[in-house]
């Protein structure tokens, strides 16, 4: 569990636990058996009924503790955004329960707007506003009076380093700058929970650092909870306290990044990149052929450390070495976890 939960949320009554004990700290979100299936698309001129679509959320159960940075990781189409839309009251689940800071969100979806700030993937509502006006208007619409909204606007623009572009309309900015302006709008109004759908998509490293610093500051000062959607493995490993791995609408694992990596045991990943055709005449290389995931000239192998060491020794000498362009040896990443857990998609980003 996150180490920074020590500071309770202001106004919090005595911390309690969920009856089944799934959360060891007061929960921000409690999700039980959440299921959502989009209606199957009707086919015109077809007499047969359309086949029911696969559920976009399939009996999802998870807890997010207060003050935690909780990630939802998975490739495109895994159901991350569908889940987030239910967590923010935008989409009504077919069945299941969502509790947000003690409020039943399935029964009272509109309460979400008063408890959390949501950063969606689209910025069309703000595109034609200037960065400053987007932040100020969003703060006003979160119920702040004019003076407070202006102060929050100035503070968040300063905090995220948006000063030089504050008077430019969002649609004239680069993708990363626009995203940063949307983050600024999301951070106004100091909500106890932030739900951020790929907040750093398209950002340069400086902007990314500014976003994570701002999120950390809110967590340290106010105990803010963050639910973060990402398909970026590196980001997930560095900023998240815990992560739920989603595949085809199901949570296939949920733990700390280290805990998840321990699931795949001690296997390491060895990437071999050949200059041209792999040297299958070499006996050790031919033996590896059926173990490798092949992508063009790249072979990816997941092996026990001693086996990997032997392979490295084999490929760094003789004809194999002559055919080798590059190789990397790495400890398991969340991507390895995802694949080891039976994830089917291959849409995770490693950069």
């Amino acid at each position: 569990m996150a180490s920074s939960i020590a500071r309770p949320w202001p106004g919090l009554a005595a911390p309690e636990h969920t009856p089944d004990g799934t959360a060891s700290a007061p929960a921000a979100f409690t999700v039980r058996g959440l299921t959502k299936t989009y209606p199957a698309r009707r086919l015109k001129r077809s007499r047969t009924a359309a086949e029911p679509a696969a559920p976009a959320s399939d009996r999802i159960t998870l807890d997010v503790a207060r003050g935690e940075i909780f990630g939802l990781l998975g490739p495109n189409g895994a159901g991350k955004t569908t889940l987030v839309k239910q967590l923010t009251g935008l989409l009504r689940p077919d069945s299941g329960a969502i509790t947000l800071l003690g409020h039943d969100l399935v029964r009272h979806p509109r309460r979400a707007a008063r408890l959390l700030a949501y950063l969606g993937q689209e910025s069309t509502a703000l595109d034609e506003l200037t960065v400053a006006l987007a932040a100020e208007t969003t703060a006003r619409l979160r119920g702040l009076d004019a003076g407070a909204a202006r102060r929050e606007r100035d503070a968040v623009i300063e905090e995220l380093g948006l000063g030089p572009i504050a008077s430019r309309p969002l649609k004239r900015l680069s993708g990363g700058e626009r995203r940063l302006a949307c983050v600024a709008a999301a951070l106004t109004g100091s909500r106890p929970v932030l739900v951020l759908d790929e907040p750093t998509a398209g950002m340069d490293p400086v902007a990314r650092r500014a976003v994570w610093a701002a999120v950390d500051r809110r967590r340290a000062l106010d105990g803010t909870t963050v639910v973060l959607v990402t398909h970026n493995v590196i980001e997930a490993e560095t900023v998240l306290d815990r992560v739920a791995v989603l595949d085809a609408g199901r949570v296939i694992a949920c733990d700390t990044p280290d805990g998840l990596k321990a699931l795949v045991g001690t296997e390491v990943r060895l990437d071999l990149v050949w200059r041209g055709e792999p040297p299958l005449a070499v006996r050790e290389i031919a033996a590896l052929r059926h173990l490798a995931a092949v992508a063009g000239r790249r072979w990816t192998l997941r092996l026990p450390p001693d086996r990997a060491r032997a392979v490295v020794a084999a490929v760094t000498q003789g004809p194999a070495f002559a055919a080798l362009d590059d190789f990397t040896l790495a400890t398991p990443s969340l991507e390895d976890v995802y694949l080891a857990l039976g994830g089917r998609g291959e849409g995770l980003v490693r950069s």
């Binding site: 106004g11 007061p26 008063r114 703000l126 006003r140 309309p169």
Partner: protein, 256 residues
Amino acid sequence: MTAVVPPAPPARLCPSLAAVYRAQLSRARGARIPLLFVATFQSIGIMVLMRGVVDGGDGDEARAVVAGSAVLVVAFVALNLLAQYFGQLRATGGLDHYATLPVPAAAVALGTAAAYASFTVPGVVVTAVCGALLYQLPMGGLWVLLAVVPLAGAALAGLGAALGLLAPRPELATLCGQLGMSAALLLGVLPEARLPEPVRWLRDLLPSTYGVDALATALEPGPDWGSVAADLAVCAGVGVAALALATWAYRRAALR
């Protein structure tokens, strides 16, 4: 049970309406100005064209052309462009931004409609003045635009917003907005007396008609202010209904 955190207070109607209005109005600076020019030039162009077949001076036809062209600017911006804007916003998920803010539905629908109605003011005034000069009509009654623009604006913007929010696809929203504008053009600019009976019924159903009639009456040398007031009252009634429809449509589209 977990401890319950009290939710933040929701945004109140008037301040959030003002915030939406101000934000929407700021969009005029960049994106809207070329379209506002198009709206105005279209109306002035129609008046110049019609000048070839309609005599200037005191006559129902001249008044109908000028009043219809002036209100056409409102139809272009408030009905057509607003339908496109909301259609686009809905299709791209932009409504999620508002739906996850604790803001009353009426504030978003009315603030946006009010901003679009305001966009039309310069174009309507320029068109009406140019028309009065072109057709040698008295300008003493043009102050009635102060009532015609907000009331016709409310009716047409409400309708435009509702079309944009209810259309299942953004292309359909655009199509409906364009058709609405074409109807306002054909049924507004042509003098009522020249229209066949069924088309006159259609004209009576169009919310912009009452704004056109009020303005046309005001352009007479001795206007019948009772008739102007009656037309404006109908316009106001339709405006309230259209804005209520827009608010309902917003709630339906944004808060599933």
